[in-house]
Amino acid sequence: MSNPITKYLPFFTDAEVPHTVSARPDTGLYSAKLGIWLFLASEVMLFGGLFSAYIFLRLGAEPGYWPAGLLNVPVGTMNTAILIVSSITVVMAWAALKMRQLGKYKLYMLVTIVCGLIFLTVKLSYEWPAKFNHFGVFIKKEEASKYEEFLGNKHLKDTGQSPRWEISGHLLDAPKGSHYAHQAEHNAEHFAHETGRHDAVTPAEDDYVIQLDAVNANPSDKENDRPHFWPVPTSTKLAVIKASDVESASVFAPRHSTYFATYFLITGLHGLHVLGGIIVFLYLWLPFRGGTQLYKTNPEHLANRVEIAGLFWHFVDLVWIFVFPIFYLL
């Protein structure tokens, strides 16, 4: 039976591809290794550009407009640990192939794939959705004094900290015609169910009602001046904010602020790289011609493929080691 690839795409031939196992005499590397390092060099430029953009945007941000402490640090820490473990298991999978232990290779590769899937699942089903249900309003500076009890700028000034212009929490009521009316209605029902209070919806049609985050519920509390590892629960205190006093209002989505725009861009791009790595690992793990079937005919070639995929995976994990502290901790 003829090869369907060469039949329909005649420029592909069945010719032997050179230097898949042996090193090229001119470079001293097998071809794929040179290829992956050229690719990783382009990736360094891609992520390097984004990190540079982040640094300049952060340095140029007006005081009080760069949020902090809004991400879930324990979840981020767990995801970081998962990626570090997956880097160890991918090296073990490669070493197992070098020792011609197919069973161990399959096991370690499976663990690597599962780690990658856990990382993506946590990100897409927990971390990101939690942000899309969190709401923040930036108060106009000239109206900020009206909301001092929620902003605590006197305390921040006295302690030499940047001012605060945002009031955040869960939206319980939104001005008429707002995009967030449905979400507010859902949150208000939940709030009433949890607390037995039904005062979250105001008769005024141009008010935002927010169930406050701890930082806005007690803005002068010294406990709020330091970062917290474990997320502090939302308080039951409510703030009513007039729409005319609001500069901008949004859930914690890219439109909320430059911080969240860069957060979603960089973590989203990183997530796509993790997905790409998982697909390649699955191909090498399943009994495809280029996957574990290759072990029967040329185990060293399979080991080289795993090494290449492993180099990519290490790069992706290394990027996360930089992403995590700059977004979650600093």
Partner: protein, 61 residues
Amino acid sequence: MSLKAFHLVFILVSILFSAGMALWAFKTGASDGLGLGCSAASVLMAVYCVRFVIKSKSIIT
């Protein structure tokens, strides 16, 4: 650079990251438990790093 060498670089960066996070946790008062956990993780990874170098000598060139 082989996967072995890149893995060593990655583990060294992870050790530095873990130590940095421990420092952050202690200095800011975010969580002493986290600080201790990250310190322990740094030590464990350093031990792993040494063991990896020794063991991989005979397996991976």
